[in-house]
Amino acid sequence: MDATAQATKSRWIPTTCGMCYIGCGVRVQVEDGVAVNIEGNPENPQNRGKMCAKGKAGIMNLYNPHRVKVPLKRTNPEKGLNVDPGWQEISWEEALEQIAANLERIRESPKKLLIMCWGPETDINHWLKAFGSAFGTPHVNSTGSPTCGKVVHPVEFFSGGGFHQQPDLHYANFCMLVGTQFGIATRGSYNHHALDMAEARERGMKLVVVDPVGGYAASKANEWIPIRPGTDAALALSMLHVLLNELQIYDRNFLKNKTNAPYLVGANGRYLRDAKTNEPLIYDAADRRVKTHDDPSLRDPALTGSYETQGQRGRPAFELLREHVAKYTPEQTETITTIPAATVRRLAREFGEAARIGATITIDGVELPYRPACVDWAKGTQGHKHGFHQCWPLKLLNIVVGAVNVPGGILSTGAAGKQPHRWAPEGGTDGMLEEGGHHLPGGHPKAFPGRKPTRPVRMDAGELFPLAPHYHPLLPITFDNPAAYGLSYRLEMLIHTATNSLLSSFGDHKKVERLFQSLKFSVGFAVEVNETTLFDDIVLPFPSYLERYDFVTGLGTTTIPPGGEHDFHWQIRQPVVEPVAGVRHPQEVMQDIGERLGILGDMYRLLNHAFILTGENTLKAGRHYPAAEVIDRTARSWFGDAYGLDWFRKEGVIRLPRDIEEAYIGPFINARVPIYLEHFLQRGEELRTVTEELGLEWDFSDYKPLSDWMPCCSYDAARNGAYDLIAVHFKFPYVYGSFGNENPWIDEICERTNAYDILLNEAVGKAKGIRDGDSVWLESPVTKVRARVKLTQCIHPEAVGVGGHFGHWSPGMPIARGKGLNFNSLLPTDIDHIDKISTALDHCVQVKVYK
């Protein structure tokens, strides 16, 4: 074969991976219309040519012989976890007609529609949000997990300015990971940070991993510190005590000028406020006067002392924090965390000294504070009954040493940019960080100032969680007894994306089953028939990511791109092979449904806003647009007419340089971040009024301005003798949700690495007479399942580790069926296991393990 013929037969097409929520740049080799290989795109600054096992295995998702290729209709009216739906193939016309008819049925009461639109972050997410909003339902859930992001996003928006956090691996010399495997096995821009992490370790950065499970991150760390599950806050509060009270290591300049540490707090816990302006007051030691926080003459805000003004006495919030954490001595917290007191003291000292308070660094001619030490946390610390307060003291560690959005510290992701649009976090109420910080305009979860609680109209009673980002974990709880929350209707219809929310988005399967059974009509997009699909009345085939157009291709470009000195980049997703006959682009399907209901123009109005479409490129009522044209219009709106779809098809990725103000936003934000959560008191009081009106018993222990460690249910249960272990969840770098569980290559990796086993401490196993590879019962308060045991020294002796998201039983997933177990199924799912601030479902559960 000559070279020309070879070239026409085989070509490389740039596109975006879709095997998780990140969206790495890839190039796919296609021969005779068949995808045969996937490589990382070296031009993409997010993954820099690197790929993970999930991405490399993506071809096997595309060619999964069990894919859904035509619309399906349920013929069996009975629904249940193990009920055969009796699928019947139908035409698109019949499917859309039935969907529209059922939507018409609830047209006058649109709140009866539930939309689960986690996609993950792809165009269908935005189209479903636009559809749900235009239809008029409040139940548009765009998150996937019952824990992930529940705390970090609302915390990060008010304490950093962006959506998520990242250690600045370019400059950090000390990095402590708590309940996360950042840069080693998980998180946004993972393939990027894996390289940065390796380079940071090579140049001598100390990596400390605090986790009940000694997993991938621990294996790369200088030090793994096993911690009793659900006690992270006790460790953090103790480290704060050592820093603030024993060592006096804290960044006075940062605390005075960039936080609310100097705000005067009265005896009632509230700020002292100026009688005229109502702004919070500060004592200025320079001229010994009390002033508002925004007084231009403010020179030296006091962090200590007691001051009287306008007839009230107040003390700086910092002093309250310092006194508050004094009760968490390392000796006291050792009994909670099992971490030796000497270790806590050493960690605090190492962290505080590594922060180099007062040091500066000059980058590109700009002098910046240099704080090369940070603490990072994520999923593991969020999933607790008091999840917010498990996490917030960890963030405070960074704040007290000034390691926020400066070189070497913790960076807020996607918080600011100058191209192709301008966005940046801004100050607001009380001079605190409140606005902005997100590239795509939309509802972003912020815990400040929160919302005033009201009687619920939402079926998830989200109104009773005024500081939470989203509320879906509550649905299997609240739907069972809506009257208790003052609700007098029921959800009747569900539309969901091609994900598996039954296994991934909630807890106890029996409760989720009842929720799904209660819905009169359910519509799901599907790549394969998973356990959620089994409850659907209509199934719509969904294109694989290798057959699909998306403009928004993952969080790696929008909200969790690499931080620090990296280019802004954008890429699209384009089909590399022809879609399977019968599969339609979901953007076009939603246009059809919207038109049948007469709301297409409203959807376009919201999409024009969401995608920042401008001028001639806006979507116009009365027209239908092929998916490719929507991508083209959006690209032209953002980057100009020279950079339409054709340019991206050929070039793959556009890069725009960022300057120091975008890379290290800390010194450039004109707003303060909190160390004292004054508004929690107000929201708690308002909520008390509402719950009393409803006659609801409610736990208000989380509505406090300074965090305490509070035990999870499992902590107490494991101490009263009923159970002796606590199960925790952990992640693998080759598993994301259940996206790849039916992929034979990923299955092979899982088999070879014992990923389907549960982890049990070797000494504990021996004491119980359990050997490596034994089959055992794993029993939680809500279920018991068979599991195979992997004995290891790499787990806390009081913990059981359950990895991945397995435990499938759907006949549509023959490879995954019967392998491993689904951690969420173990979780008691009731209001007592919900964090009252964030709505995170408690993810540490008391268990027994026996043969």
């Binding site: 008029g136 339902t137 859930n141 939402r458 919201l606």
Partner: protein
Amino acid sequence: MLVPQSTLTAQIKFMGDLPAVIGQRSLELEMPVGSTVRDLLASLSKTYGEAFTARVFSSPAKLHHYILIFVDGEHIKTRGALDAQLGNGEVDVVMLPMFGGG
């Protein structure tokens, strides 16, 4: 001789969470000529109470960041924000869903 109109009729459409609070997706409201979005929201707050106000305003006269208002199809930020003048056209008041993660 033409008599100047003293009132306007705004066609208000609610999206997102708000139809569940208002009880309907749209309504017509007669208001004095010269009324602004601020006046409209005040009127709606009076009629629908705290359930509406708490969702729309983060503090007095300050909209929550997830509230989106269009007057005759145009975002109010380009028409004077809350001081945007109403006409006899359409007003869309949208409460956007939160973006998540996971």
